[in-house]
């Protein structure tokens, strides 16, 4: 991208107006000077005529003195004007050069500062629609709709650019109000919400086959994140884009009246933006959640179009248990009876996974056998059907917690159960490959709707286990601090357990030593 591009704005005085003034003065100042000089020259001519006619030698001498004096006076008009204009030109030149030097240094300083700020906070302008990254979006003049493609400190102004319509001064810095202007993607010209390019970018695609439950998961998880998690912790969670907010509201209304969402049509999705800010944080996060249609992973051509993978920070891989071959065969009759309600995904799990890896290979250079540094949450959906909640859901997790006290949290138990479930259903290769390819993997089970959907039942859906995958992933990518909360919970438990000891010494010994001993457990029979 070129740093400089002609803009529909006026160049600053130092780069344009100042030089025009200099040229104009130099070209036009002598007009009046001519008139004054001609006055003196005419006076000289009259005196010369009189001198020639005069017979008196004394008068003649005096008249010639007048002639010479007037001639010199006439010349002095030009000399005076030239001296004044020359002085002005020199001073103006020095002034303009000093202005250009100072503004250039300031522009360079601001540009470098902005670069450092963006690099430190990992802030980028990335279009939620076409997924292209740009150094700066296109800003639109609120008066004449002219598009300014380089609204930053430059030769058009350090703090503001004056639009050629002469009706608006556009600020060049966000701190001066640039973020309030309409901004468009430089590639596809789609409007972008004002938080794009102002918050740390986090990109999370949700992957899975068609009808795996991705959209249901996203909206239910977002709803619980806002209403339950963020509300209790004073997190500021907003939808910076009005369209996304409206779409979210519409979908939540559907869930609250017992209706499922329609199937996602977009092969290459628009990202939903969620802005998350922790109290006390200088810069928040803008989360881009990508909900591509399951058909995006059905063939390689569609998979390769998922260009946003080059920005990915974490992944959510949704598995429809009814798309697992062995499980399908074992429960063929029950699945057939409920087919219209549970809507099994038509894409095999390994196919979707392989396509996802192919996209990661082409987008970010993932190499087989080399760990991808970003976390992946593997979520088995639809556990409300066929008693899956009792096998891998939170009901089953409670039994594990009783059996293995070292496991403190239900989601850890669920992770073990789901992992074992996948291995038991001939997806051991998938599990092994996940651990091989990804530095952080955790397994989850959830039901986005809480029950098998029935078109006639208007009772609102109540999801189960929907929040944990999102929280884990957001914690891993640094949006929230779940780990600290878990540590505090464990610490609280240890304090309670310590207080149950008989004396101060054994309390201290337990709290500062025994509780900190590393523990490992290998679970072979869940």
């Amino acid at each position: 991208m070129k740093l400089y591009e002609p803009q529909p704005a006026h160049l600053t005085y130092a780069y344009d107006g100042g030089w025009q003034v200099m040229r104009y003065v130099w070209q036009n100042v002598y007009t009046e000077t001519d008139k004054a000089a001609r006055y003196w020259f005419n006076l000289a001519k009259d005196s010369e005529r009189k001198a020639r006619r005069s017979d008196n030698i004394v008068s003649k001498y005096w008249l010639w003195s007048i002639v010479i004096g007037c001639a010199i006076a006439g010349v002095l008009q030009y000399i005076s004007a030239f001296a004044i204009v020359s002085l002005f030109v020199v001073l103006q030149f020095l002034f303009l050069v000093a202005w250009i030097t100072a503004s250039s240094l300031f522009v360079a300083f601001l540009a470098f500062g902005n670069f450092l700020y963006g690099a430190y906070y990992k802030i980028f302008f990335r279009c939620p629609d076409c997924h292209e990254q740009m150094p700066i979006p296109v800003y639109v003049c609120p008066e004449c709709a002219a598009e300014h493609t380089r609204l930053w400190p430059s030769v058009y102004g350090v703090f503001k650019h004056r639009c050629t319509c002469n009706r608006s001064d556009l600020p060049t810095l966000d701190s001066l109000g640039r973020n309030k202007l309409t901004q468009l993607c430089a590639t596809c010209k789609a409007p972008m919400n004002e938080q794009v390019g102002r918050l740390t970018n986090i990109h999370i695609p949700v992957i899975g086959g068609p009808l795996a439950g991705k959209s249901n998961y996203i909206f239910m998880a977002t709803n619980q994140f806002i209403d339950i998690y963020a509300a209790n912790r004073k997190l500021e969670v907003t939808f910076p884009d009005e369209k996304h907010w409206q779409f979210y509201q519409d979908n939540i209304s559907k869930f609250q009246s017992g209706r499922e969402l329609t199937k996602t049509p977009d092969i290459v999705p628009q990202a939903y933006n969620l802005s998350v800010k922790k109290p006390g944080n200088r810069v928040g996060h803008i989360v881009y959640i990508y909900d591509a249609a399951g058909e995006a992973y059905a063939d390689e051509h569609s998979a390769i179009q998922q260009t946003y993978y080059k920005y990915v920070h974490g992944l959510i891989f949704v598995i429809d248990p009814f798309a697992i071959n062995l499980y399908q065969r074992q429960h063929e009759t029950e699945i057939e009876e409920l087919k219209d309600k549970i809507r099994p995904s038509g894409l095999e799990v390994m196919d979707a996974y392989e396509r996802m890896l192919a996209v990661l290979e082409s987008s970010v250079g993932l190499k087989r056998g080399k760990k991808f540094p970003h976390p992946i949450a593997v979520v088995v959906s639809k556990i409300d059907a066929l008693d899956l909640d009792n096998q891998i859901g939170y009901l089953a997790a409670e039994r594990i917690l009783e059996k293995i006290p070292l496991i403190r949290f239900k989601e850890d138990a669920v992770s073990l159960l789901v992992e074992q479930f996948l291995i038991d259903n001939q997806l051991g290769n998938l599990v092994r490959d996940l651990h091989l390819q990804f530095s952080e993997v955790k397994f989850f089970a959830c039901s986005a709707l809480g029950r098998i959907p029935d078109g006639e039942n208007p009772v609102p859906f109540e999801p189960v286990g929907i929040l944990e995958p999102m929280l884990w992933l957001l914690d891993r990518v640094g949006v929230i601090d779940l780990q600290t909360e878990r540590v505090k919970l464990i610490d609280n438990d240890h304090q309670i357990m310590a207080r149950q000891r008989k004396n101060l010494f054994s309390m201290a010994r337990f709290y500062y030593w025994d509780s900190l001993k590393p523990r490992s457990w290998r679970v072979t029979n869940l």
Binding site: Q20, V21, N28, V29, V58, W62, G69, A73, G74, A81
Partner: protein
């Protein structure tokens, strides 16, 4: 002897006449000439100074007007 006295008398007369001419030139003619030339130079000098003053004044006023006009023409 009468011829010699006559010659001396003539020389003295010439000397006196030359002295008178000297006095007239130095004390009458030259000052008058100086005054006339001086007046001429004063006239010349005054006109030059007047021209310089008017040139500076016209130059400054003209420059300010052109400068204001130049700025008005800027977009």
């Amino acid at each position: 002897m009468n011829d010699g006295a006559g010659a001396i008398g003539g020389l003295i007369a010439i000397a006196i006449i030359l002295y008178i001419i000297y006095l007239i030139v130095v004390y009458i003619i030259l000052p008058i000439l100086a005054i006339i030339l001086g007046i001429g130079l004063i006239i010349l000098g005054s006109i030059v100074l007047a021209g310089l003053a008017s040139g500076v004044y016209v130059g400054i006023v003209n420059f300010i007007n052109v400068l204001i006009e130049a700025h008005k023409r800027l977009p």
